[in-house]
Amino acid sequence: MSDSKSSSFKRIFPTMTPDGWSGLKLVSPPFVYSLLMLAAPLVLVFLLSLWTQNYLELDRTFTTANYKEALSEKLYQTLMIRSLTISGIVTAVTVLLAYPIAYYVAFFGGKRKSLWLLLITIPFWTSYLIRVFLWKVILGYNGVVNGSLMGLGFIEEPLSFILYNANAVVITLAHAWAPFAILPIFVSLSRIDHSLLEAARDLGDGPIRRFFRVTLPLSMPGVVAASLIVFIPTVGDYVTPKLLGGTDGLMIANMIQIQLGKANNAPLGSALAVSAMIIVASISIAFVLINRKFLKTKT
């Protein structure tokens, strides 16, 4: 870098140190890659959502018609609301189921903490597609659950409420995202200062009061992180609703794929994608704001 260039930059950033320049230079390859391959494509998706597809040609006059259609058409509304509802339920179920296991490993794992974490993550390093498909085998009409229950004589006809509907999608997603919920909660539970728990006990709190007044509030950053990590990607899940959802369990990602593929209406697909992103981002921000009193970092 030449001196004249750095001095002109210095006028803009008077506090810039040589270390600052080295850092910026070093971070630029991954940063530029993200700008080119992520930011630019997202901007283009947004532009495209304001254009119109006329059969094979693209009409580049700006219009909000795609958004009107994406937000007012009954079918898209249903899919969007269903995606958000299913993801919301999945998030709640996953986080509630994950909390006790994270609690167990953090407080009682002892020397075997790493082993427990490894045990929890191993089943998830196998093909996602095959894992989802295996749930179909478990929940199917002559699957493992129905087969065992009928074999044992508990039921006479296969249970039908567990396949090709939203329930199957919830069960499968709650399984698929389990480690992503356990790990952040585990990390925040491990960071709790044990002297605070002892203080609560010494001051007369029983185990339940102590949990709700000390442990839970202190672990909320992990719970919030876990909720967002599960909620955001599951809204856009494509595989699980397609394999297990039947027609009543399809979600917004399936529609985005149809618009980009068979329906050949990329602008409408883009408008659906942008709407979904904005809605998900708003919900996430609102969720963080509601919990902000727990998220203040200790100084």
Binding site: P100, L118, H175, P233
Partner: protein
Amino acid sequence: MQNKPSRSLLTYAIVYLIFLYAPVMLLPLFAFNNSAIIALPLSGFTFHWFGLLWQTKALHEALYNSLMIALITSIGSTTLGIFAARAAARYEFPGKRGIMGFIMVPLVLPEIIVGVALLVVLIQLGMSLSAWTVIIGHVLICTPFSIAILQSAFNNMDRSLEEASMDLGENRIGTFFRVILPLVTPGIISSLLISFTISLDEFIIAFFLTGTDATLPVYIWSQLRFPARLPAIMALGFLMVVLSFILLLTAEYFRRRANRITGNSTSSEESIF
């Protein structure tokens, strides 16, 4: 604090683990089951489905494509990860939080959005879809994982070793290659393995961006529609479980060695996550 868990909590932990392992446990059952239908009860033992895999040419091509894509992706994302992790661990620069946060965004972006965005660009640019377009997408989603792993390796490194090298007359580049890089090598290997595994298993982006060269998950997806092909897919899944188990253990071994070499054992438990 009580030191012993209540019995109900331990029971819960065990039941939860059974829930986590339930689908994977079925794989060996159906992979060796002598029946064309994936259902209980089991009918007999066979290696037939593994033999079938050996003969399926489309599978071999998909596997080759996936391995090449995963190899190039892991090298690309680890290289980008080294730049970002070193910058974040060693330097303070303006906009650091924003820039690092932006690079990590793919972690919280639904993969379908990444797939759609790249697909739209490629179509508008008139580029054809190929293994390379899949690699572009995979590098994007793997880089944040590489950064997370490498950042802990760089953070755990003792700064005084770097300063000693500079004091002894080595320049910055020499110091990087002769002192820093050897110290973080286990972190680099761990990053290569993790991004390799992620790329190998990634479906949505590959589904959107692959041209005629199907990747392994895209091939599996195409087979799931045909009931007759399912037992072979179970056998394939079983092989993949065994392989990724070995890969994961290797990655874990190097990660622990990384923490030992850099002299920091206390953070070993949470660093990867």
